[in-house]
Symmetry: C2
Subunit: 195 residues, 2 copies
């Protein structure tokens, strides 16, 4: 298996400079000197032209945006299988951040995003055999908000049958996948939840 | 139109006592003395027997839980249309909190929950002609987390065509609907977003 993935938790890190600054080094290293062209998929934001311009100008917010909108457009444009084939068989490097990380996994069932549009399925591209929760947040004992913690939400997910493990990828973390080897990069680490 | 709804933002309020304590008075008044039986729908949590027992014992967390799980079970059990008919035509009072509030609106597209299961549609029971975002949170200028604010998420929703208004119902707030009249109750108010 030739896959080569860089799955980033978030595009901007608090106190970590501008967009993708916190993972600039890993991105350069990941794509290397030989990559001259990047296919940018702007489906996750509404204004695609502007998003693409921004990305082209500054190479920023790659793959961020709304996960439901991104996955629905991947299905609408019939590119889910094609991306999977190119990455898994041909070894084309894939990089995603936030929404772009969610759609690279088994399903988008562990996204934090609002379900603003309805994709035909929650099944995603499946470039790794587990799910990821980007922007993972540890429970905050001082919070006065009564919504479920991220941990409680992932536990609810695991109450469902046959659900895969979920990697809670904290802001500032990213996962580098090369073939069957995955390496956690960044400074903030991750938390793995299994059913 | 006979509808009579009490749509609560959240079941527990920080500093507001135990489950549903903050809206106890409104609930008593809403159901009145003549209501002897309540149909409790435990679909939003995994352990339905335990949830029902808890609700029976303490009349608590009515309609809370996971919105996706709740709506999927309403469809699986073919009760969406029946609930709509009984509430809209026969005037059976409907009360929901959190997830139970989301499914009472046009769609669940403005829930905060994790999409742990995939319902056949995001269209909900449609007891009111708008959407609600329960547990609404104002943007926090001191937050170090880089995920989208609730306001940004709702704005993304309104980038989609033909999307209804969204009532951001803060924790502690609830909406009383009687026929064509809606009254905001509780202490924390709400914020209305229109496309």
């Amino acid at each position: 298996m030739k896959r080569k993935l860089l799955l980033v938790s978030n595009s901007t890190l608090h106190g970590g400079g501008g967009y993708l600054d916190h993972c600039q080094q890993q991105i350069s290293h990941f794509f290397g000197k030989d990559v001259k062209k990047v296919l940018f998929i702007p489906y996750a934001l509404h204004d695609r032209d502007n998003y693409t311009k921004t990305a082209r100008d500054k190479f920023k917010t790659l793959g961020g945006g709304n996960t439901f909108r991104l996955l629905k457009s991947l299905y609408d444009n019939k590119v889910v299988t094609e991306i999977q084939r190119r990455v898994m068989e041909d070894g084309v490097p894939y990089m995603g951040s936030s929404a772009g990380t969610n759609v690279a996994t088994i399903s988008i069932s562990t996204t934090n995003d609002m379900p603003i549009v309805c994709p035909p399925s929650f099944n995603a591209i499946g470039l790794v055999p587990f799910n990821i929760n980007p922007h993972y947040l540890d429970p905050d004992p001082n919070s006065r908000h009564m919504g479920e913690t991220r941990e409680q939400r992932i536990t609810q997910y695991h109450e469902e049958p046959n659900t895969p493990s979920v990697l809670g990828l904290r802001e500032g973390s990213m996962l580098l996948v090369e073939g069957n080897k995955a390496t956690l990069l960044g400074t903030t680490k991750a938390r793995l939840f299994s059913r």
